[in-house]
């Protein structure tokens, strides 16, 4: 708490002006404090995310399901928790999240075929539970198999509905800005006594 601040504002004269100067100075310091607080919260969040990336071995340890191709197990808006340990072999039946070369959007499907050579080289085929055909149509032109390098991670756990927030924010950017503004205002204005 800032108290007993030197009253240099008194030079302008008048007790009211004194008080006003006081208030403005106290608020500015308070403001800097709040901004630092905010920055600390953001940094901590980033650190937790980076920590998750390290612990799980996956570049994107939490993903949101975007399509209905794995229904009725996963629906649009569900949240998936991934791991991507180097020594974990890829086996039929596992749910993997992969990226097709050249595309940004990761896909969540199940492994239905695996062919592994003695030296550890693996190639595999995936298919969405809710799809009639396998994913060859989704792969790159001429690509028939996926490899370990295409894998973002293996689904180990899941939470329903929670990821809907991300989808809404994506589809309605105004909602995203409004949410950020509210969060920012809350952190900046919250007083710690």
């Amino acid at each position: 708490r800032v108290c007993g601040w030197p009253r240099s504002g008194g030079i302008r004269g008048g007790a009211a002006m004194d008080l006003f100067g006081d208030l403005r100075r106290m608020n500015k310091r308070q403001l800097y404090y709040q901004v630092l607080n905010f920055a600390m919260i953001v940094s901590s969040a980033l650190m937790i995310w980076k920590g998750l990336i390290v612990v799980t071995g996956s570049e994107s340890p939490i993903v949101v399901v975007l399509s209905g191709s794995m229904e009725p197990a996963f629906h649009r808006g569900d949240l998936l928790f991934l791991t991507n340990f180097h020594d974990d072999p890829i086996r039929a039946g596992e749910i993997v999240v992969f990226k097709v070369e050249g595309r940004d959007i990761p896909i969540v499907h199940r492994v239905i075929k695996v062919h592994e050579k003695g030296n550890g080289n693996i190639k595999f085929l995936t298919k969405g539970d809710n799809n009639e055909v396998d994913d060859r149509g989704l792969y790159k032109e001429g690509q028939n198999w996926l490899e370990k390098k295409d894998v973002v991670g293996r689904a180990r756990g899941f939470l329903p509905y929670v990821g809907m927030v991300t989808i809404i924010m994506n589809d309605y950017p105004k909602f995203k800005y409004a949410l950020l503004a509210v969060m920012g205002a809350y952190v900046l204005l919250k007083r710690e006594s």
Binding site: G93, I112, D129
Partner: protein, 149 residues
């Protein structure tokens, strides 16, 4: 279980294509195959309040000259909570083409079929469980050229 093997021009160069028909008997509710009997009173119930569905699949696992390990899912089924947990399927044909990556099915004596399932919870961990009991299937040394299946 009957099997034919045919050289088939599949999605890419000629590879072995296997045909298998199978019976499945399973008592999923208690996590055991129907072939086994209860050993004790503490059998776990697989369909508890947190299980939304089971994704069952029959996979064939084998080795070939080309590849040390091959796994091909032949058949799958989604079993929702509330469905009959006892399976008794006879004379099923494989749902998916049993292509090998190469010509490793001909004369392969040791193809193991196992039934496994993925437990999908309402929220939480997604385990993969393999049922106990498996069957070994040998493929013949020659190719069939008949079209019937």
């Amino acid at each position: 279980l009957r099997k034919n093997v045919e050289d088939f021009t599949g999605p890419r160069e000629r590879s072995d294509l296997g045909f298998v028909t199978f019976d499945i008997t399973a008592d999923i509710l208690n996590g055991k195959n129907g072939l086994q009997t209860f050993r004790n009173k503490n059998t776990f119930i697989i369909f508890d309040w947190n299980v939304k569905q089971l994704f069952l699949y029959l996979s064939a696992e084998y080795s070939t000259k080309n590849n040390a390990l091959n796994q091909v899912v032949l058949w799958d089924k989604i079993m929702l909570r509330g469905d009959n947990p006892r399976l008794s399927l006879k004379d099923m044909k494989s749902k998916y083409f049993f292509f090998d990556d190469g010509n490793g099915l001909k004369g392969n004596r040791n193809i193991t079929l196992t039934l496994s399932w993925n437990v999908v919870p309402n929220a939480g961990i997604l385990p993969l469980v393999t049922g106990s009991g498996h069957v070994s299937v040998p493929f013949p040394d020659t190719y069939e050229t008949t079209k019937s299946y």
